[in-house]
């Protein structure tokens, strides 16, 4: 990644706009609707003044089920620049995959109730024509799924599947598309790509299948790449290879990447910014340093301290987060995390009655928690060892 992008372009641009992002995010929590400060156009369809690759504002994805309304995603906002990586972390059911499917327009026809705004390079997607989203999907934005064996078609050769994607979006002949597929397989490190292109998915190993998925996703030079648990099904040595590949390709194409995972190690390895999700809402949002070195949400503390780590001294006992993730039909009132939070009693009952807003701890570092800055410092001093 070029140094300028890394140092200067956090958030939307300069400091001023960064603060704006913070206010806008906080606003989204307050009212539920679009806050007055949001620079959206009169029709709400364009976002003038923004040059980010992806801008998600107050996204809500609800599913009506027989048991009740499932609020899988309930007011998520973030933005992402070209060349940068956003890591979305959370437990199963926290809404991270639903968010990514909403961006890709893949909830169409599932009965999902989607609200909010998604701008891809200035183009609004939530209210866009499904045909238009279909055009963008695969060309301007692409996705890598978790399990390459079930997302590749077993009846078609790997090559045929890459060629199909390329033909749909480009006016080229079959021969040129095939050459392009071979080139892509080469690029992602598949040996003897010219012959392996005619292999079926079952003839590939797990790591090679994931490489083929990446080749397919990148075949039309997408500007936004979403990787949903790209290495969860892989062994550690292969995982390391795939993470390197994603990061190399990002530098080469200068694309924006969203990586969705439950593995904090993978996130630390790849991400510039991190969004921690809990029960469909953002618990914490900030740069990787903010979240790993200066984490402000008890849930993030819990995640960081509950995992056994190879880079630290072995702890005699792990410190788990108590309880279990909440049901999304019956989300606890107030702060959804309060039944599991070790510090909920310090908020004077607010965490059981009032939904915490996303507040700015430091510029660009947002946390949805009722604890005051002093309480947080005190807790950190007492209980939590932040970095030896």
């Amino acid at each position: 990644m070029p140094a300028s992008g890394a140092t200067g372009e956090r958030g939307i641009g300069g400091d001023e706009v960064q603060g704006g992002r913070g206010r806008r995010l906080a606003g989204a929590w307050r009212g539920g609707g679009r806050p007055a400060s949001a620079p959206a156009g009169a029709d709400g369809m364009s976002l003038p003044g923004s040059r980010s690759m992806l801008e998600v504002q107050d996204l809500r994805v609800h599913f009506a089920t027989d048991d009740g309304l499932v609020k899988s995603v309930d007011g998520i906002s973030f933005s992402l620049e070209r060349g940068r990586t956003l890591g979305i972390v959370g437990e199963s059911g926290s809404g991270k995959s639903v968010t990514s499917l909403a961006i890709m327009g893949l909830h169409h026809g599932t009965g999902a109730d989607i609200d909010g705004r998604i701008w891809l390079d200035g183009e609004e997607l939530v209210n866009a024509d499904p045909g238009r989203v279909r055009q963008l999907r695969g060309s301007k934005m692409a996705m890598i799924f978790q399990d390459p064996l079930s997302s590749l078609h077993p009846y078609y050769t790997v090559g045929a599947q890459i060629i199909e994607a390329y033909l749909v979006h480009n006016q080229v002949g079959r021969k040129a598309a095939r050459e392009h597929a071979i080139e892509m397989l080469n690029r992602v490190g598949i040996p003897q790509a010219a012959t392996r292109v005619d292999d079926y998915p079952h003839q590939f190993s797990g790591g090679m299948r994931q490489r083929a998925m990446i080749a397919m996703a990148l075949s039309c030079d997408p500007e936004l790449l979403i990787a949903d648990e790209p290495t969860t099904a892989l062994d550690v040595t292969v995982q390391a290879q795939i993470l390197d590949l994603i990061s190399d390709l990002q530098q080469e194409y200068h694309s924006a990447v969203i990586i969705i995972t439950h593995d904090l190690g993978v996130v630390a390895e790849l991400s510039d910014d991190i969004l921690v999700m809990y029960a469909g809402k953002a618990a914490e949002y900030g740069s990787a340093e903010d979240v790993f070195d200066r984490a402000g949400h008890p849930y993030t503390w819990g995640l960081l301290s509950s995992m056994p780590r190879l880079d630290r001294e072995r702890a005699e006992r792990l410190t788990p987060i108590k309880g279990t993730p909440p049901s999304l039909i019956n989300v606890p009132p107030g702060c959804a995390f309060h039944p599991r939070c070790a510090y909920a009693d310090r908020t004077g009952g607010r965490s059981t009655t009032e939904v915490p807003r996303l507040r700015e701890l430091d510029p660009g570092h947002l946390v949805a928690c009722h604890l005051t800055a002093d309480q947080r410092l005190e807790i950190r001093g007492d209980d939590i060892k932040v970095r030896p």
């Binding site: 550690v236 904090l264 996130v267 390895e269 991400s271 190879l310 072995r314 993730p325």
Partner: protein
């Protein structure tokens, strides 16, 4: 190879050999690959486990680590005879159980229980929790003092579940709670040895720690012996006393936990450890995202149908020399209690 076997067998796990609860010598499982329908011909064999030897002392935990396809799960299934070993010997509690018949094996199963990886597919969805946890009592016809229900409720309490939930069905529980049900079921018959195959890998991070702590508490309270099979090196480091690393059906390294993690000797172990992502961002001088220094293995694990000759790791090893392609390195004890099968081990300089 036979020399390496006897060596490994005598070396044991470092403890006094006769005290071991479980002793495995030269354990081998080859799955035949056949062709033809009427006239079945054996055309090859998947060498899933090939000459594995180790022992586990009572109250200890052995961690079996490796990537998928290395034979760790097959080893686990051989240990409680869910699979029939091709050769080798399994001695449990002083008794050779290698080739016991199903009927003779049945009483032994009271003492050897298994925790499975997937808490969703390992519990019968049509049975209540009470029926699931109480099933071992019924199947083994074990009389209970206070009745099945009271016994089961005691067990549920022991694993941190509400005993009132006796009549609920598995789908009413979360993944972590289901894994607790599975653990309660293994405890029903008061076993001596529990084989846990990836007990926490299907669980969320915050729940993983709960289950790991539970397993440790139960071990302390009930004096259990564990064989924990896992791919996650950090979980194994937490839970195991002895760690054995497998690659393509063979043990490549075995040592006490602290020794193995502080000074891994086999290049494969070194690479495996360095591949684990660390939850701490790395930045260069300019503050841009940087890449962690690590050993990068190329390619995938070779097929166990046709494993590489001599040292099975030589195709991916950065230290491989000619001898690695011609001569198999024996699993030898380099320092006390630390066995490595490598011609050119790492970290051999004396500790500072």
């Amino acid at each position: 190879m036979s020399s390496s076997l006897t060596e490994a067998a005598t070396a044991g796990s470092g403890g006094a050999p006769d005290d071991a609860l479980l002793r495995v010598t030269g354990l081998t499982k080859h799955f035949p690959v056949t062709r033809g329908i009427i006239f079945r011909q054996k055309v090859g064999a998947v060498q899933a486990v090939d000459g594995v030897s180790f022992s586990v002392a009572p109250g200890e935990t052995l961690g079996l680590v490796g990537e998928s396809g290395c034979g760790k799960t097959t080893t686990g299934r051989l240990l409680n005879r869910l699979l029939e070993p091709t050769s080798g010997q399994i001695i449990f509690d002083g008794r050779d159980i290698t080739h016991l018949s199903a009927a003779r094996m049945r009483p032994v199963r009271r003492d050897v229980q298994m925790i499975f990886q997937d808490p969703y597919s390992s519990l019968n969805p049509r049975h209540t929790v009470g029926a699931i946890v109480g099933a071992p009592l019924r199947l083994q016809k074990v009389p209970t003092e206070k009745g099945v229900k009271a016994t089961v409720q005691e067990l549920l309490e022991m694993v941190g579940l509400n005993p009132e939930h006796y009549n609920r069905y598995p789908h009413e529980f979360s993944g972590g709670q289901r894994q607790r049900i599975g653990i309660a079921r293994t405890l029903t018959l008061k076993p001596k040895l529990i084989i846990a195959d990836e007990p926490v890998s299907a669980l969320d991070v915050s729940i993983q720690a709960q289950v790991v702590n539970l397993l440790e508490d139960l071990q302390r309270e009930l004096g259990l012996t564990y064989v924990v099979i896992a791919h996650d090196l950090s979980v194994v480091r937490h839970i195991a006393d002895q760690v054995a690393v497998m690659y393509l059906g063979k043990l490549v390294e075995m040592a006490p936990r602290d020794q193995l993690y502080a000074r891994p000797r086999h290049p494969y172990t070194v690479a495996l450890m360095s591949a684990v992502p660390v939850p701490e961002p790395v930045r260069d001088e300019t503050g841009a995202r940087a890449r962690r220094q690590r050993i990068r293995l190329s390619g995938d694990v070779p097929s166990p149908l046709n494993p590489p000759r001599a040292c099975r790791f030589h195709t991916r090893c950065w230290k491989a020399q000619d001898i690695c392609r011609t001569e198999e390195p024996p699993l030898a004890e380099l320092v006390s209690g630390h066995q490595v099968a490598c011609h050119f081990p790492e970290n051999t300089a004396p500790a500072a």
